[in-house]
């Protein structure tokens, strides 16, 4: 089945144990030069462990890693890089307090003590421009960039190292479809030179469009490697979970255009980032916010959660105009708006603290809510099937999907009238996604108004009742019913006229 007889990396009987836990179990796996190889699996299936072994971050307990046919011991990321194995991890490896320029220079080939190579920078800048990051200022501090921009910088940095095998571990999770396409266009051009790409993604359409071969992992075992297109979605999902998931998304109920209005934004604006936005949130409806990254959709959530100063226009809740000056205001029982932020590691959770402490942090100090009572959180822990050893376990020990469940539970315990979600399924495995979708639908049915910002347009099509697409701070299209199609969404995100969808 191999398309090329020369694997760059071949793993033979690789096992990795952490104490009693087996993260990888006797895995045989190879990745060829010039191919884009997708790795699929639920969180905890062993994908990240596999990547870390190839990148030299950890060493296998048993088994051999072959690079270019020779058995090697990759004792550190530096050794892996020197053999052309470059990895981008989901925990971004850039330094927040340095500028974009400095980050691009850091550790690049040809730079060493006291010597910075201008050529490397030119190459990196050029790469950045080719993946739609030309607008990112070189002198900006990395911490001031959006998550998507940081990922673009990270990709440019990795590509500039002229890797032989590029490992992308959820590295495109915050990027929009069009940027991801550009990234892979660049990679395809490079792969003509014999570069292999190994990537983890949870977005099926991305994998379908880009991968040559697909490997599925489950519970630390390599299930199967096959050519892209050999199986359809449901068959692949079944391989991943080992049991049947009928459908990724819950059934969508009848549209309710006349449902009671919970919250209305009227001519909402903020500085240059948001102009004249009017959105109506109805009881029981899931409203989507889409668009390319940084077109103002995130500002809507921030504005509704009291994070923006001096907003224009009105916020009308249950018929009365309200002011929301801070998150503390937003969570007041008479307003009751909750936000699950985009970056769960830095914004949503205190990783060093226990699951219990994290869940209680929002409820603590709210009148009439018994924050320390575990019963308050139980229904959501159960509905989301949170996997944990003990509620005293630090949240940082949980997998990404389980962390997101904690972040959701923390706010759902307050039973918010209006729930704001910033890309809640980013970098999360399929099973957790279905659990989250199901819960969101159930909450909507119970009367919660949900505003869902997403970078995955399938969520607009299959989950949302209506969707607003943003461009340059404005809503350029309001899609409802049959109009919510992949073509229309893509056209709108690029601010092209309707029906002009020419997406391949």
């Amino acid at each position: 089945m191999a398309t090329s007889p020369s694997p760059i990396v071949r793993l033979e009987g690789v096992t990795k144990r952490y104490g009693a836990t087996v993260a990888l179990d006797g895995v045989n796996f190879d990745c060829n030069a010039g191919e884009i190889h997708a790795v699929l699996g639920e969180n905890g299936a062993g994908k990240s462990t596999l990547m870390k072994i190839i990148a030299g971050v950890i060493q296998p307990t048993e088994g051999v890693v072959h690079v270019d046919g020779e058995p090697v011991a990759l004792r550190s990321p530096r050794e892996a890089v020197s053999r052309g194995l470059v990895c981008m991890f989901q925990e971004l490896s850039l330094i927040p307090d340095l500028t974009v320029r400095e980050n691009l220079m850091l550790g690049a080939p040809g730079t060493g003590l006291g010597r910075l190579s201008g050529r490397t920078l030119t190459v990196a800048c050029d790469l950045l421009a080719r993946i739609d990051g030309g607008h990112i200022p070189m002198r900006a501090r990395l911490a001031d960039l959006s998550l998507a921009e940081r990922q673009q910088v990270e990709i440019a940095k990795a590509l500039a190292r002229e890797p032989r095998l590029l490992i992308l571990d959820e590295a495109t999770s915050a990027l929009n479809a069009s940027v991801v396409e550009k990234v892979f266009t660049v990679i395809r051009e490079e792969s003509a030179r014999g570069i292999g790409v190994l990537f983890i993604s949870h977005r099926f359409h991305e994998i379908e469009a880009l991968a040559d071969r697909v490997s599925v992992f489950r519970n630390g075992r390599h299930v199967e490697t096959f050519d892209n297109g050999a199986y359809d979605y449901p068959a692949i999902i079944n391989k991943m979970v080992g049991q049947k998931i009928d459908d990724l998304f819950p059934a969508k109920p009848e549209a309710k255009p006349d449902a009671e209005v919970v919250l209305r934004l009227d001519g909402f604006g903020w500085e240059d980032g948001l102009k004249d936005v009017s959105i109506t949130l109805r009881k029981g409806c899931i409203t989507g916010l889409g668009g390319l990254d940084g077109q103002g959709q995130a500002r809507v959530l921030q504005g509704l959660f009291g994070l923006l100063r001096k907003t224009e226009g009105d916020i009308v809740l249950d018929g009365r105009e309200i002011q929301i000056a801070s998150p503390k205001d937003a969570k007041r029982p008479d307003i009751s708006i909750a936000l699950v932020p985009e970056d769960r590691k830095t914004e949503a959770l205190v990783l060093q603290q226990s699951i219990a402490a994290n869940m209680q942090l929002a409820a603590l100090g709210v009148d009439g809510v018994p924050a320390s009572d575990p019963v308050l959180y139980r229904p959501y822990i159960d509905a989301l099937q949170l996997k944990y050893a003990s509620l005293d376990q630090p949240v940082g020990q949980l997998s990404g999907g389980n962390q997101q469940k904690v972040a959701l539970t923390k706010w759902l315990a307050l039973k918010p009238r209006c729930l704001l979600l910033a890309d809640p399924t980013r970098g999360i495995d399929v099973k957790t996604k279905t659990q989250i979708y199901e819960l969101l639908r159930r909450l909507a049915d119970e009367g919660t108004a949900i505003l869902l910002l997403s970078t995955d347009y399938e969520e607009f099509i299959h989950l949302c009742d209506e969707t607003h697409i943003f461009y340059d701070g404005r809503v350029v299209r309001h899609l409802q019913g049959d109009a919510v199609t992949a073509e229309n969404i893509l056209a709108a995100t690029l601010n092209l006229p309707a029906q002009g969808g020419t997406h391949a």
């Binding site: 937003a330 830095t346 205190v350 060093q352 942090l361 603590l364 003990s390 376990q393 923390k410």
Partner: protein, 317 residues
Amino acid sequence: MSLAIARRLDLTTLLPFAATVLLILGGSLFFPQMLGIGYLSQQLQIAAFLGVIAMGATIVILLGHIDLSVPWVLGGAALISTTLAGTGDPLLTALAIPAALAFGGLIGLINAVGVALLRIPSMVWTLAVNSMLLGISVLYTGGFNPKGEASATMNWLATGKLAGIPVAFLLWMAVAVGLALMLHRTGFGRYLSAIGYNEKATFLSGVSTPSVLFAAFSIAGLCSALGGVLLAGYANQAYQSMGDPYLLPTIAAVVIGGTSILGGKGGLLGTVGGVFFITLLNSILSVMQMSDAWRSIIFGVLIITMLMVQTLRGREG
């Protein structure tokens, strides 16, 4: 899992207490009088001065901040209280302690303005506040030791005894228990360590983080001021730079008590142990007639050792 964590926390907290006991036992081999009631009671009294200040410092360090204005809040409070008591006017004498505490609280609020609202690193801002307080007090006293004396109440608080136990120690314990209740019974303690670990996530959980910073820095100011009142009562006067020897030991006591200098992890109980340890170590070194120079070096080494232990433990966890 929870058991393991609890055990480790207890160990960190109990460590300074165990070290203190070892110090006493070890010291008593050379100086048998160390096991006498008189000596130990005197140590409790001396420990109380540092202890009161370290309680406030613990709260600020839990936040991931630091209060370097301790020396001159202490000095200023001593100056204010002795000046008022020194007038001999009964009303002003009665006001001595409240005025000193109000001063401490006010400086705490000023510290919080810089840190919480202007977002200036606390290390710089509180150092600047300390320097300004120094300047103001020199302007006021002309650089000489001020006149004035402690009130009878101040003397009693610092040197009196109740049922054979030093009043200063009882006062320290009262402050510690009061703060501990505040930390555990309300959300305040939870907010402190959540902010210490991740201020952004705490703010986005709908916590008014500036209010928490304001409360924490005012408590620290009040504690430093109370320390100043006690010291003035002990020495029966205020003098220039009386707070200077207290800054480093305060931080050392907090760090030895297991509170992370980066914020988040730690608590008051550990600091109580840290204060005992520092006080006894100081006392033993002075009994051994170790010079000030060597004592400073030893404290510096102690702080660095504790920070290294914390870093290594953090890496392993």
